[in-house]
């Protein structure tokens, strides 16, 4: 994307919401409130959120929660979800045992 973003722009205060304890990333057990707080800590991209909180880094690799996380971050920043780049998908496609991954054929 590469657009110039000044990370000091005021996005307002963090205001607690009644459903902040709702689990969003089930693999890593990260809540909506934690994701919203991370945005106020300065994590404005999905890649930063993931590296800061581990959302989408568990067994399912974000296949369940990445859309939800995107929506929450976009709302917090006041932008359209379409403006947020998804985090990079990484191989392997499915969790693979080391003894299998270690063969050249994979």
């Amino acid at each position: 994307m590469n657009t110039v973003v000044d990370r000091s722009i005021d996005i307002g205060e963090f205001i607690a919401q009644p459903d902040d304890d709702m689990l969003i990333c089930r693999c890593e057990e990260i809540t909506k409130g934690e994701i919203r707080k991370a945005v106020h800590d300065g994590m404005w991209t999905l890649t930063e959120i993931r590296r800061y909180l581990r959302t989408g880094m568990g067994l399912c690799q974000g296949q369940t929660c990445s859309r939800l996380v995107k929506g929450i971050v976009a709302r917090e920043l006041g932008v359209s979800p379409a403006e947020l780049e998804p985090a990079t998908a990484r191989s392997p496609m499915r969790p693979t045992e080391m003894r299998i991954f270690g063969t050249e054929e994979v």
Binding site: M1, V4, R7, E48, R51, T88, P95, E97, F101
Partner: protein
């Protein structure tokens, strides 16, 4: 832009080095602007390395920085930044399986002991006592009890978070195109659409520093090399040491989360074309399997652990294998911090603190004279 584009210091690059320098400068009351070319903070080696916080195996020229950081900064870093950086100071084992391996390890150990580091050779019984999960084929290791590891992604973002809270202005997606002197002193930094100005300009942009510094006639002799990592699903807790081997088959540790993070190389990086588009750090098909085989040679118990993710990153390898740090005689106002050669993460807090001191007071407490830009000379 509405805001003033002037600050005491303009830093090019928001990796862990740029973020750490900005934090320590801000603590000293300096105003700082950090310019990051990519959309993400810490998107290069800072988020892609294996998390080692080591002194053993380091060159004597950078060892003082590594030792200083581990003694003075790492133990209280999580508290200071308000984020758990998952730092463990529980030792580094470098493993050997053959007499040749032990010879390599002995050489590394002798050099480090000469520099005053507490590192020694241990036999297989002692290795087993420290880490009972290793293969019986391990016949010895070098052991440095004050080495360790931390979470590189979180530590990088923790420096950013704290610096931002303290008023450092970070601008992402703002790729620096050139630098310019004004009346003999480096002051100006130009991006595609904007112009920034500082009393000092720090260039800490990894390998990309080379092109940026080239615009004022400074050329750091470095090249980039692809290095790859993999991570397993969370496993029951086994050990807290940082691990490596005499032949560098792999390096890594078990994270607080339970997953094992291991890094390594295939050995064919310089010529292998199978790693995606040029200038994009993508995995090569052969490397993660190679790292897996390396791990299983030493940790047969991990053969059923599932790999959930792999990634790649570039090392900015200096001609002589150690970073280039500090002032440059030819360009007053410039501070260089690049060519970390794969050793940047562990020394980042010390580099940040010492370069902030250099900018503020004109001197450092730790000797970094062996890391100056002026050290490169033709052999005859």
């Amino acid at each position: 832009m509405v805001m003033e584009n002037k600050a005491d210091v303009v830093i090019v690059g928001a990796g862990i080095i740029g973020c750490a320098i900005s934090y320590y400068l801000s603590k000293r009351g300096k105003s700082v602007i950090v310019l990051e070319g990519s959309d993400n903070i810490g998107n290069g080696g800072s988020s892609r390395n294996g998390g080692g916080v080591r002194q053993s195996g380091r060159d004597p020229r950078e060892l003082p920085l590594a030792m200083y950081g581990i003694k003075e900064l790492w133990p209280t870093l999580s508290e200071e930044l308000g984020v758990n950086c998952e730092y463990h100071k529980e030792g580094n084992l470098r493993l050997g399986k053959t007499p040749e391996h032990l010879k390599i390890l002995q050489g590394l150990t002798d050099r480090a002991v000469a520099c005053g580091l507490d590192v020694r050779m241990i036999d297989s019984d002692e290795v087993k006592e420290i880490n009972p999960y290793l293969s019986d084929e391990v016949i010895g290791a070098s052991w440095c009890p004050t080495d360790g590891h931390a979470n590189p992604m979180v530590t990088t973002l923790a420096f950013y978070k704290k610096a931002r809270e303290m008023g450092v202005r970070f601008i992402t997606g703002e790729k620096v195109e050139r630098l310019r002197k004004v009346k003999g002193r480096l002051r100006k930094v130009y991006t595609k659409e904007n112009e920034y100005e500082g009393e000092f300009v720090v260039v800490a942009a990894g390998y990309e520093s080379r092109e940026i510094l080239g615009t004022i006639g400074v050329d750091v002799p470095m090249h980039k090399e692809l290095c790859e990592c993999l991570v397993t699903e969370a496993e029951p807790h086994m050990f807290n040491q940082m691990l490596g081997t005499a032949e560098a088959d792999f390096y890594g540790h078990q994270a607080d989360h339970g997953s094992f993070v291991f890094g390594g190389m295939s050995g064919l990086e310089l010529n292998n074309k199978d790693c995606g588009p040029v200038n994009s750090p993508s995995n090569a098909a052969i490397t993660a399997p190679c790292i897996c085989r390396g791990i299983m040679k030493y940790f047969p118990a991990l053969e059923d652990a599932k790999i959930v993710r792999t990634w790649a990153g570039y090392l900015d390898i200096c001609q002589d294998g150690v970073p280039v740090l500090g002032f440059v005689d030819e360009v007053p106002g410039l501070v260089v911090a690049c060519a970390f050669s794969g050793h940047g993460f562990g020394i980042a807090p010390a580099v940040g603190e010492q370069l902030a001191m250099l900018i503020d007071e004109g001197k450092t407490a730790v000797d970094i004279s062996g890391l100056r830009y002026g050290r490169f000379k033709a052999k005859i």
